[in-house]
Amino acid sequence: MSQTPPKPDLVTVNIDGRDIAVPKGTNMIEAAALLGIDVPHFCYHPKLTVSGNCRMCLVEMGLPAVDPATKQPVMDPATGKQRVNWMPKPQIACFTNATPGLHIRTTTPQIKECREGVMEFLLVNHPLDCPICDQAGECKLQEQAADYGRGASRFIEPKNVKPKRTELGPRVTLDDERCILCSRCIRFTKEIAKEDVLGFVDRGSYSTLTCYPGRELNHNYSLNTVDICPVGALTSTDFRFKMRVWFLKTTPSIDTESSVGANTELWAREGVIYRITPRRNDEVNDTWMADSGRLLYKKVAADNRLKQPLVDGQPVTGEQALAAAVELLQSQRSYAAIVGSGRQSVEEQFLTHQLALALGSVPADIVGRVGQGDGLLVSADRNPNVRGALVTGLIKAYPPTELTELAAAIDDGAVKMVITFGEDLLKAGLTTEQLAKLSLIEVGTHPLSTTAAAKVVLPALTVFEKNGSFINQQFRLQKFHAAVPGPAQARDDLAILTALLTGFTGTAQPAATVEAVWAELAKQVPVLAGVTWASIPATGRLIDGAAWASQPFVEGETLHYKPVPAPARAKAEPTSDKGQGPSDK
């Protein structure tokens, strides 16, 4: 994962008269893209096998001439270079790999005519659905019809009629009329999801995408077929008819459902998130993400969202709640404990650690969440940021799923006050009797079973409403950004932590921004030395996790991740029922 690949074998190819050196075997569509030349295509996808059935990527192709008898290059006396033998018929670029001296032409009249012809055939039976089609605005057929089509239809016969609203599965709706038979979805289910459920039936214009008899497209990666569908044939049932994509602004984010940290994109308009799609990161999630992570945005506008700061269950202002929390911290400082979270960002975990230090090195835990890994993009560790807690020093060892030490400390009377960051203490192994002995400060976004009993409740922001970073299972530091504003009374977790630190220590703290926290992080955490918020690239930055190699991490193999074999791993706890499945949010 972190080793640099061996230097590739470069070959020079010529595209539209321009030479470019690319690794041998590079797909010619990708090679052309390096030169900024668009080779239109529908069925080709960089992360799937090539099927070459849409015929849109036709190019003229030529190879350097070699004398068949002598095997010597044939030189062109006019140019002094090796002559190029152009093939009489166009070839598809997607099925062509770079070989030395390969020439392609993408702008000749023949290719223009080819593209117009292919577009015309694709549009023969394509319905005029654009006004009601969710793909409009991000439709390859729409774009390429405008860029490479004839512009007018000559087709006067009635168009084919096919099923319009087939439920392929619980989350995917198929409009067969719009399908251009590119087979990307079939290849995805077969090759990536490894669950072969889709196929074509019937022939010619009547070809129809369908599930195998008795099967449905219900695996946890089904919505990726919607993402890769170049037209509006496969649509997300959740996003169907919700909003046109041209109104939506994208914000890069991270999937929080497990330690894989799949890169995502949030699509929002005017403070409302409409959908989450994967963002390409070839080191983490390629172009995929799990369906379960796509519905997490719904908790932003959930009815039960914590919006009101409370003290003893009574609504107060944010300042009053913070003052009450600081007072509690001061009065109970010798009996305090902190329950952080593996869902906090690195920055928040760092400040939580600072708070623990300020209180006098009080015990700080996070709650482990272990589920079943699916071997692809959901790992066994259902916390997105356990490694952040290790790196920032909030915890010293891999967290257990139950807070047994804290429970014992409460029973002993050593802990009488707990500040928890979104973790449900009852679900983490505490009993109601133990909870009754505690003064609880709760910082969180949604009510927990302990919220009613909490002394102070400070509403905070969800991952979609704030900036921060997570460290995933590869020790890859990845940023997420705020896409929408939070509720009026809720505060950024960083602001809450900074206010608590300021109130408790009485000294001014760095500003409650990720930039300011990173300035401190880089100073205090050796493996993050030299890192600034701005310098973390969009695809993440690997940090050195060697110091934690012996920790009993629970992740199994997933896409682009192989667990490091460690002797401690054999002794890893058996999986508990905590955090079963990503729906446990």
């Binding site: 006004p131 409009a136 009629v161 319009k164 609203r165 009547y206 008819f241 109104f247």
Partner: protein
Amino acid sequence: MLARQSPCAIRYQRVHFCLLHSDFFLPFLMPATVKVLERRPLSFLQRTYLPGVLAGMRTTLRHMVAPKITMEYPEQRPPIPAGYRGVPTLVKDPHGREKCVSCQLCEFVCPPKAIRIAPGAVDASGPNAHVEKAPKEFEIDMLRCIYCGLCQEVCPEEAIWLQNLYSLSGRTRSDFVHNKAKLYELGGTLPDTHFKWDKKKAAEEAGNAH
């Protein structure tokens, strides 16, 4: 800016700012071509004011007998020319189907952002299930609307029309936010030449035997 002014004007400005409003230098700075006129005395007839009065009365009398050109608005209304851009409305086709499919192109194109659409799905068991999509809510803020007609021009379903209505009244700001019901009430039914969706439904029902 200065280059466009006459040299004389520039000079005056300088005088104005530099010499502290002093009139002393003005005669020296004025152009040499200024001609001072003397007021001529009025004649006897002019002093009686009668020619002026009579000329005025002539205009008054001419208008007394001329045909009236004012209109008793609002009882009388002016004829509206073809292509007039009045209040935007939503229309139904002659079969009573709402034509808008909530593609939101009008919302996108609207320069003052007066249009707000909540898209929705058509009742799957109803007669128009094949249209699939229709607006759940459709609002046009007439305090924002600039009557440019781009919404009508962009509409792929010919569902939004700026018709003849030109005067709106209301007591509150919210009276000027036309919701879907109001827009259909104002729009009524317009003739259709395509019946695109009826053809689509007929094709769907006929199926494609193969």
